[in-house]
């Protein structure tokens, strides 16, 4: 990710040792905060299995739509104690048709650290069954309540992060090579080919992106496995993201290939294709790095938007978008269940961090500001 930025070098003579872009990025307090938060998010997503008290599919239908579990920090005599919870039971009021949950206070279940729980494999390899915290069955520790199937919202936020956070980068790995190669080839060939290639890119850009997105998502056949669906959603996101980049790269190639050092290499007999690959494309690096940082949040946003309307990641898999859908489904009762907004807040924080880092990175890599800092 962004850590690769130090590899970027500034092709000008340096009168004195200047800080690397990475150091200047890190020196900015906001960018540093953004990077730290993002690092924590990615760490939490990667270690979702051992951190989350339950697995993504764990469900207990007896406690569906439960509110967040009340954690007690004081015992009956109001003395501070190790946190514990009470199990809850559902009651149904036949007059108002409302179900409510009440604590059964006959037995307390202390919250335990490093408890044995469901088996898992981290990254699908490392087996384990120790969870950072949890409670003994039959009590359930639902820190952010449970969804309609009685699954733990808190745990599913971690598993949702795995999908929501990686899809942005995976999309980048498809969209950016396409954009760079397409723009490079178009700028290299020029003439009629360039003209046709750019018209096609413009056509892609002329369809409002969200309409294109849902149109593409709609053609995905139902009944795909969740990993197939995940992969195809990624491809769809990249099919939308490449065109704008291709246009800019083409413009840059056209102008950079007239620069003196490129002309010099051409005069020295370097074939034009190698010249473009070796001398022109690397010059676009700082633009590409910034564009990539700002593209990731837009991919994340698109994925969550798609999942939010039910065209992206499907149940029973979790993604922040499809978890937020619960808020839309319960919109009239949202005031009583504000915790349903949590996935949306996480999407917001993630995008905020990426945008902040991207903004600072743009200033740091901007050739115009090189001499100033």
């Amino acid at each position: 990710m962004i850590q690769e930025a130090p590899g970027f070098t500034i092709p000008t003579a340096r009168p004195r040792a200047r800080k690397t872009p990475w150091q200047r990025l890190w020196r900015d307090p906001l960018a540093r905060l953004g990077l730290v938060v993002l690092a924590l998010f990615y760490l939490a997503a990667g270690l979702a299995d051992p951190i989350a008290p339950y697995s993504m599919y764990f469900n207990d239908p007896d406690v569906a739509n439960a509110p967040p579990t009340q954690v007690h920090w004081h015992d009956a005599q109001a003395r501070p104690t190790w946190p514990f919870i009470y199990p809850i039971e559902r009651r149904f009021d036949p007059m108002t048709f409302r179900q409510t949950y009440h604590e059964k206070t006959d037995r307390a279940y202390p919250i335990k650290l490093f408890v044995k729980g469901e088996d898992y494999r981290i990254f699908g390899i490392l087996p384990g069954n120790i969870h950072l915290f949890g409670v003994d069955s039959p009590a359930r520790l639902f820190l952010l309540g449970s969804d309609i199937n009685g699954r733990d919202n808190f745990s599913r936020l971690f598993f949702g992060a795995q999908k929501s956070l990686t899809i942005g980068f995976l999309g980048l790995f498809i969209a950016f090579p396409i954009g760079i190669v397409y723009g490079g080839v178009s700028g290299f060939l020029g003439g009629i080919v360039d003209n046709i290639m750019m018209r096609v890119a413009e056509a892609v850009m002329s369809i409002p992106s969200f309409y294109l997105l849902i149109g593409l998502a709609a053609i995905l056949p139902p009944g795909m496995s969740s990993s197939e669906r995940f992969a195809l959603i990624t491809v769809i996101l990249s099919l939308i993201g490449w065109a704008g980049l291709a246009r800019v790269i083409r413009g840059m190639v056209l102008s950079i290939r007239e620069e003196e050092f490129v002309v010099a290499a051409r005069a020295a007999g370097l074939p034009e294709f190698i010249n473009i690959v070796k001398h022109v494309i690397p010059q676009t690096a700082s633009f590409v790095i910034v564009a990539a940082t700002l593209q990731v949040p837009s991919f994340i946003l698109s994925e969550s938007g798609l999942s939010f309307i039910g065209l992206g990641i499907q149940q029973p898999d979790a993604s922040w978008g499809n978890m937020l859908k619960a808020a839309l489904d319960n919109v009239n009762d949202l005031l009583n269940q504000p915790w349903l907004i949590a996935p949306g807040i996480l999407i917001f924080i993630t995008i905020l961090c990426f945008n902040t880092v991207g903004d600072v990175l743009r200033d740091v890599l901007d050739p115009k500001s090189q001499g100033l800092a």
């Binding site: 369809i207 992106s209 309409y211 056949p221 917001f348």
Partner: protein
């Protein structure tokens, strides 16, 4: 090149572009391994003849290439086909287009009414608390998903009980007099317009600020100050007018991007607009409807850009339309 000739040229250029878009969209939708009539087939009460008639009506029993040209020739005659929900796609689109247009125009109006002064104030008081305040607001606006913003405002509406949650009209809309109807619609528009304005504000306020800061460094601004002009005259008469050009390009783009941005907001707020219609079309696999919506979106985007270029020429005579 005079403006009418220029418009004509741009419209002619748009035709091949729209053709490419239509081929791409059509290919995309035909790749879909889905059966538009699946819900009819699943219904045992519907006879095989009725399904065949429906296939004939929607043109589904012909090869895809033939279907495309049928679609194209119908389009040229102004016929967008029939929706699987029954009824003409054109009528469906027109019913919803008004609501979306109303939302878009109001959003653009409010966005610019707020963004322009906010950008100017931020640029003039650069680095001071008011600039930082707007900086925070726009950072939030740039990172806030529209659907989250809509949900949060719905929570506010539920909490205060002062605003309707969703829709465009109240159930008793048709029993009200004209003034009552206008007030009712305005009441329903508060949340959607606020959501879209807040989101749209961010980019434009930043652009205004950045452009104005650039211009304030120009020599003619220094000259204006040196000859003793009052500061507000320097800013509003000399600087701002020159800072406005790049914004007009944004203006055209905004119009089209509102279509995309509004879709999710319309969905959350149950607003009867084009975006929600398209979403419903996608969810019910209504290909004619989705195709028409894609084309309409593309036309709006192209028109928005054309409008911006023409406005730019009107505002700045130095720009030559080539």
């Amino acid at each position: 090149m005079s403006i009418p000739v220029y418009i004509l040229k741009r419209v002619l250029q748009a035709i091949p572009l729209l053709f490419i878009i239509s081929v791409m969209s059509f290919t995309m939708l035909k790749l879909a391994p889905i059966d538009q009539l699946a819900y009819l087939r699943a219904n045992p009460a519907i006879s095989a003849e009725a399904i065949r008639a429906e296939e004939e009506r929607l043109g589904l029993n012909k090869p895809a290439v033939v279907q495309y040209f049928i679609w194209l020739s119908n389009l040229l005659r102004g016929d967008l086909g029939v929706s699987t929900m029954g009824g003409s796609v054109f009528v469906l689109l027109m019913q919803r287009a008004g609501a979306t247009l109303l939302l878009s125009v109001l959003t653009i109006l409010f966005t610019w009414l707020i963004a322009l002064p906010a950008g100017v104030i931020a640029a003039v008081h650069r680095g001071m608390w008011v600039d930082k305040f707007f900086g925070i607001i726009t950072t939030i606006g740039m990172s806030m998903p529209t659907f989250l913003m809509a949900l949060l405002l719905l929570m506010v509406a539920l909490w205060t009980r002062a605003l309707p949650i969703g829709g465009l009209t109240s159930p008793d809309f048709y029993e009200r007099n004209l003034l009552g109807q206008i007030i009712d619609v305005a009441h329903h528009l508060v949340i959607p317009v606020t959501v879209l304005t807040f989101i749209g504000l961010a980019g434009i306020q930043r652009q205004v600020r950045a452009n104005l800061l650039d211009v304030l460094r120009a020599e003619y601004v220094r000259t204006a100050r040196a000859k003793g002009l009052p500061e507000d005259k320097v800013i509003y008469k000399h600087a701002l007018r020159n800072a406005i050009n790049p914004l007009i390009t944004l203006f055209g783009f905004e119009f089209a991007s509102l279509l995309s941005g509004a879709a999710l907001t319309e969905m959350v707020l149950a607003y009867p607009g084009l975006g929600r219609l398209t979403l419903e079309g996608v969810l019910t696999k209504d290909m004619n409807l989705v195709m028409a919506a894609l084309m309409l979106g593309a036309v709006m985007l192209i028109l928005g850009n054309l409008l911006a270029d023409v406005l730019l020429k009107l505002v700045d005579p130095r720009i030559s339309l080539e």
